[in-house]
């Protein structure tokens, strides 16, 4: 019996190994996504082009300019004339302009003596990209206000991700996505392929319970996903410097539970879909998109309209991503994610139950 099962696994592995292109895609997707989201697609604002308008380049103005030049988030382009503001912004040569009042030095000294003064600095932003404008304005304000002595100090303290690195936000999200993609999509497509090609017909007319063959199908995909898990964790740790302070053991444990859950989801999809295309569409459209939207990976769950608020509770990725965030970024111990683990295990068994109930031993 054991030998039988291993020969099924062998057959399945051969299918995967023979399809080199698909295998390469499956192994490379995580790497590409991690690097894309980690470096290229980033919500951080880097190299913001800033120019300064000042009628006299006093010591205090130059201090601000020096600060900007030294800051990696800004590129200081130099001083421009008042009349150039509009042109420079329109041409897109600058993203932001700092305008100093011509009485800046006087106002500054008055303010330091406790006199209430009108504002002496103006920021002009190109807000065609609101993201850049908002984040940039906040950065800029930080830089300037740290320079203004005796100003009301705003104490902003960012926990867990003090540099607001977007990689910290995306790594758990990508993990939630990738495993659904590989486990659910690949297994469901490969099971449905047997239906479509007609091999399932022959498998059914044999003494082996077809569910055994299908469970054997999951083993190689599980192994591939484990490789992906290792790649993702290595890239996250050593390339993106994600802290993983909650301990590797916990992250791996919950990831493996999530892998099995995704496999069961794939099995479930395969019992519904009648063709490979449908299996693909169901996995991609019905599973992946809502997972991206409702898991908190892209949009905060808190922002959802009230009607949709209950939906994220049934999205497995949401629980997984939340748990990974706690373990990876917040550095909480495994005991802090027991609720998520419980929910994921429950969902795994629920999917498995429905899939096995749906699975047919005949063609109709």
């Amino acid at each position: 019996m054991k030998q039988k099962f291993s020969s099924f696994i062998k057959k399945e592995s051969l299918h995967i190994l023979r399809d080199v292109r698909t295998m390469m895609i499956v192994l490379l997707i995580p790497v590409v996504l991690m690097i894309l989201f980690g470096f290229a697609i980033s919500t951080e604002v880097n190299n913001l082009n800033v120019a300064i308008v000042a009628s006299n380049h006093s010591e205090s103005v130059r201090q601000v300019a020096d600060k900007l030049s030294a800051n990696p988030y800004f590129s200081f382009l130099g001083y421009i004339d008042n009349s150039d503001i509009d042109i420079k912004l329109r041409k897109g040569e600058v993203d932001a302009i700092i305008v100093f009042d011509k009485d800046y030095d006087r106002l500054l000294s008055q303010r330091s003596q406790g006199v209430d003064t009108p504002p002496a600095i103006q920021f002009i932003f190109d807000a065609s990209n609101t993201n850049i404008a908002q984040t940039g304005a906040a950065y800029l304000q930080n830089v300037i206000s740290s320079d203004l002595t005796h100003q009301e100090m705003l104490n902003l303290h960012l926990l867990y991700n003090p540099q607001m690195k977007s990689a910290y936000n995306f790594v758990p999200g990508i993990m939630g996505l990738i495993f659904i993609l590989i486990c659910a999509m690949m297994t469901s497509v490969s099971i449905v392929r047997e239906k479509e090609v007609g091999t399932l017909e022959v498998l059914l007319v044999s003494p082996v319970r077809p569910i055994k063959i299908i469970l054997a199908k999951m083993v190689p995909y599980f192994l591939i996903s484990c490789i992906n898990l290792a790649t993702i964790l290595l890239i996250a740790r050593y390339l993106l410097d994600v802290p993983m302070s909650g301990g590797m053991g916990g992250i791996i444990t919950i990831s493996i539970i999530y892998l099995i859950l995704s496999l069961m989801l794939g099995l479930l999809i395969s019992t519904i879909a009648s063709s490979q295309v449908i299996a693909l569409l169901v996995s991609a459209m019905v599973m992946m998109l809502p997972m991206m939207m409702l898991s908190g990976m892209v949009f905060p769950i808190e922002n959802l309209p009230t009607v949709l608020k209950p939906l994220p509770y049934i999205v497995p990725a949401r629980w997984y991503i939340e748990a990974i965030r706690k373990l990876m970024i917040m550095g909480l111990p495994f005991s802090a994610v027991l609720k998520e683990v419980g929910i994921l295990i429950f969902m795994t068994f629920a999917f498995m139950g429905i899939a096995l109930k749906n699975f047919k031993n005949r063609l109709e």
Binding site: Q3, K4, S7, F8, K11, L14, H15, R18, D19, V197, G198, T199, E201, V202, L203, L204, V205, S206, P207, V208, N361, R362, L363, E364
Partner: protein
């Protein structure tokens, strides 16, 4: 005891009646042919007997086991070759065989004796992927896979469709050989000329069985005179022949038209009527199974 017993089986898909109250028996060790065009219900019948479908009404048993309640026992002892090529195209010949052997708790060595006459012909290509085999070789591989667990009954759904004439002939030789080893074989084919290779045949059309008998007996019941006619312009001949008195039916048959006639037919006046048609010729024909099939279809 009969190997296959089918009693009043009906099966519908939506409004289409695929099988309409079908009954027949297949004796042990018999090579039984289901002959009929596409859409006759042959594949549905195969899927019922291989326990892939359940019937709407009626009952059937295979090797003494009921197709609904005892389907597990049936699946252990039958070999099934579906109409569509159903092996793994990306696996090699040998990998396919090994997989199917494992499926039935057997191995290539144990079954080598039985499948040797067939497998030997494709053995030189055992490292070739199944998808890269020719049509005839694919069928031989599929048959080898269906035989690997020494089944007592073999179900072959249109095994010779899409196979060249020489390979078809070879294939039927193999089936005769398997039959001589005591394996009951139910085979379907749309090719009427293959019917004579079976012990008994059932002529099926539109979900019904029109007649069951040995090929010889079926031909013998053809009770009308039959002629073959030809001319240079075959279409013109067909139209004019149909207008003559005493003609029951006239239809294209290979390179000639077959002419089924009744007692009012007079061959001399028929010849006179067509004397001016270029290349006209008429000769008496022995009826074939196809003639019988066409006759039955008209009734």
């Amino acid at each position: 005891m009969s190997a296959i017993v089918v009693e009043n089986i009906s099966k519908s898909f939506g409004k289409t009646k695929a099988l309409d109250n079908i009954s027949f028996n297949v004796k042990r060790g018999e090579l039984f042919g289901l002959i009929g065009p596409d859409g006759a219900g042959k594949t549905t019948l195969f899927r019922l007997l291989t326990t892939l479908y359940t019937p709407d009404s009626g009952r059937a048993s295979v090797d003494g086991f009921d197709i609904v309640n005892q389907y597990r026992s049936i699946r252990e002892r039958v070999g099934y070759m579906p109409g569509q090529f159903s092996l793994y195209q990306d696996l090699t010949v040998e990998e396919n065989l090994n997989f199917f052997a494992a499926l039935f708790d057997s191995n290539l060595k144990n079954s080598y004796d039985l499948i040797a006459p067939i497998y030997r012909q494709i053995e030189p290509f055992k490292n070739r992927k199944a998808g890269k085999l020719s049509g005839g070789m694919k069928q031989k591989l599929a048959l080898s896979c269906a035989l690997i667990h020494h089944p007592s009954i073999l179900f072959l759904d249109e095994p010779t469709t899409g196979v060249d004439a020489v390979s078809r002939n070879e294939f039927w030789d193999m089936l005769s050989d398997l039959k001589n080893r005591g394996i009951t074989i139910l085979v379907s084919t749309p090719y009427m000329d293959e019917a004579s290779r079976c012990n008994r045949i059932a002529l099926c059309n539109e979900g019904r069985i029109m007649r069951i008998d040995t090929p010889d007996n079926i031909v013998a019941t053809f009770d009308s005179a039959l002629y073959a006619i030809k001319a240079d312009n075959m279409y013109q001949l067909l139209l004019s022949a149909r207008n003559q008195p005493g003609i029951t039916n006239c239809y294209p048959f290979g390179e000639t038209h077959h002419l089924v006639v009744d007692n009012n037919f007079d061959i001399d006046s028929f010849k006179t009527a067509h004397a001016d048609i270029k290349g006209f010729d008429i000769m008496p024909m022995r009826p074939t199974i196809e003639d019988m099939f066409i006759k039955l279809m008209r009734q």
